[in-house]
Symmetry: C2
């Protein structure tokens, strides 16, 4: 999710505008644009093909393998799955420009067993994960085909990446490995994440920070009838959720919290010995994030104390473990930086107004390390991502334009020979 921020004024760099104009008016780029429009049906088929291979967090392997085959068939070199599970292939440049990576994430938020069959109604495709981020994976393939069809050679190498670990418990593990450990560490000079669907004029220039927790309440347990009156971790959890739901957060800087997954207990007729929840807290500023984390942590302990006072602790007390399971760094890239100015100029060239904003995406990692990075939309429209009702519209005008904007940005940054 993207939240708008104010644009800094008067920092449009002429340099970027002219290099963008050079690329966009190049007959080769126009040939690539035409190819994207003609090839649209195939692109849609590939979205469906990718979506229908499920890819829960930490279980992206099947989709990764399929995507690796697709990248290989598209003619990239060095197509491999790295040690973390990211699929990476290279489209070699002439060696005279910076290496740029462009990525879409393989994983979805949905657990194993979710029905990922795509239902099509007119130009709308319905399926969990179809827009977040299957469409973007298909955009990568389309870009490669368009560049090949138009015989475009770039100055810098381009890495096309289908990465793991963007969603849920993945905690950006794909990006952390790519930028901090793997063979491409220190080699990537600019980064674009495509995530999720959307017209193509939203440019993420700041990475929202988040902290994620698994909160586990533990107690002595017991027989539901025989031990009635003993403290219960389920009641501590219920009370904790109820408290959490009342936290007031500011709209600006946008700050949010969520109880995602809950669990615990062994049977209906046993007092649980463990009840737990996973909590996501995000903010556009470190200060607000820390404030909410502090309030949340205090509430968890209050809930424990209240339960230990409300019922008998004769067989043991309730205790709580608040464990940090995810920590996405804050990050930003200056609006005046070449990567943002380039993307903005491309968006304008397509008749749209660039909108700057913040979100929490794979780009958080390079941003936090000072590597120029942005997140762009993958084109088209859609809604309800992270729900079973997720859908995208592949109506051709907005769908094709989004791909063209992303391709124009990528080529303007890589430099066309």
């Amino acid at each position: 999710m993207f939240t708008k921020i104010a644009a800094s004024l008067g920092i449009l760099l002429v340099l970027q505008t002219s290099s963008v104009q050079r690329v966009l008016t190049d007959p080769k780029f126009q040939a690539a644009e035409d190819f994207v429009a003609q090839d649209h049906d195939r692109f849609v088929r590939e979205i469906i093909q990718i979506t229908e291979i499920d890819a829960p967090p930490f279980k992206e392997a099947r989709r990764a393998k399929a995507f690796m085959e697709m990248l290989r068939q598209s003619g990239l070199t060095n197509v491999e799955i790295d040690a973390e599970g990211n699929v990476i292939g290279t489209r070699k440049g002439s060696g005279t420009g910076p290496t740029i990576a462009i990525a879409a994430h393989l994983d979805t938020v949905f657990p194993e067993g979710t029905n990922v069959k795509v239902r099509r109604e007119g130009t709308k495709l319905y399926a969990p994960g179809v827009g977040d981020d299957s469409r973007a994976l298909a955009v990568l393939l389309e870009m490669i085909r368009a560049m090949d069809a138009a015989k475009i050679q770039t100055a810098g190498d381009i890495l096309f990446i289908g990465n793991v670990g963007e969603e849920g418990p993945g905690d950006l593990r794909g990006m952390k490995y790519l930028f901090q450990k793997g063979p491409y560490k220190d080699k990537i000079k600019m980064f674009i994440s495509l995530d999720p669907f959307g017209w193509g004029n939203d440019i993420t220039v700041g990475g929202v920070g988040s902290k994620r927790f698994k909160v586990t309440f533990r107690g002595p347990g017991g027989h539901s009838f025989g031990s009635f009156g003993l403290v219960s971790p389920a009641y501590a959890l219920g009370n904790a959720i109820s408290k959490l739901s009342k936290i007031q957060v500011p709209q600006r800087p946008r700050t949010t919290y969520n109880v995602g997954v809950i669990g615990g207990g062994t049977s209906v007729n046993s007092i649980p010995f463990e009840s737990w929840m996973e909590v996501d807290i995000r903010s556009e500023t470190k200060e607000e994030l820390n404030k909410v984390v502090e309030t949340f942590t205090r509430m968890m302990h209050e809930a424990v104390d209240e339960e230990n006072r409300a019922r008998s602790t004769s067989q043991g007390r309730i205790e709580v473990d608040v464990k940090l399971i995810g920590d996405r760094p804050f990050g930003e890239v200056s609006q005046s930086s070449p990567i943002v100015q380039t993307a903005s100029a491309v968006v304008r060239a397509f008749g749209l107004g660039p909108v700057y904003g913040m979100s929490s995406t794979d780009a958080n990692i390079p941003m936090s390390m000072g590597i120029p990075a942005i997140t762009l939309e993958s084109g088209g429209t859609g809604s309800r991502n992270h729900t079973l009702d997720e859908w995208i519209d592949v109506e051709k005008t907005a769908s094709v334009r989004g791909i063209q904007i992303a391709l124009g940005t990528l080529l303007s940054l890589a430099g066309v020979i």
Copy 2:
């Protein structure tokens, strides 16, 4: 769990006392008693053997198969697993007495994957399910061996049963099938359940009624950051649990409630579209049970209304489904009935005082149908059943005495030729 009730006065029937005395003073019974004492080490080994085959609700098949083999090796006839999963074997009588069934339940409250390895410290055995109800299954085997060793023939047939579905979601399915559908329907004239461990002087003469519910809150779901501010089933559930935990119930008639298992949600960074809990409500009287069920049901709907008022319903409202998943009938057997008086006389003959009480066991079903039925303890001592810390003490005096009391009661009811 067993709660004491007052004994009716002056109803000791001379008839039962004399028939009990006749059995207990029979040299054959004394030979059986001696056998039980001598064979105790083997009995303990069998408790361990049974405990270490896990038997979650609806997954009793492995333990059932092993128990069937054990019953077959003990020489019973017609040893079979019925269509519901109960293991049943017959020890034929002379045909001049009523058919009696004695049962212990195969299932435990623990889910698949629970470590059921028994840890022994002195005379204590620690393991989930060791006393509830593995010990009682081993008692059945021990009784058969003792009767054979002492060459005891009974007037009535005795059915030895290891049954399914006593715990958790099983909802007494084993007993419901046995008494209402299966081949022994209408044939069993008296019933004894052994459940769980304990000295042997607690006699269950009333079946506590219970109702069990699965409560599912559903909502539109969404992205944790992008859709922040939408209603969440997790908050409705937390609030519902918090309300439920404050219900005041009477101590007499004993009335209880419990939140057992909870679940729902797809990922930490998604607002769940579904959050649920399983709730157990019990009482010694129908009136109190219905009162708590009514309060509970009202609270579930209040929690929904409050959540729909607290946050945005622009993408959909929270709704709740309160589904009855278990309904154990009330039942009782008169303290003046021959079955209760016989058990009482046996308990007294062993120097203990019978204590009458209510609990929720397999005997609820025959009791609710007017078939004379009691639940007895299987001997020994123990604690913490329904927790991972469950243990029993197989110290010989109390362990052997419990088996002897159960055997004495069974034989006094069946009649020794």
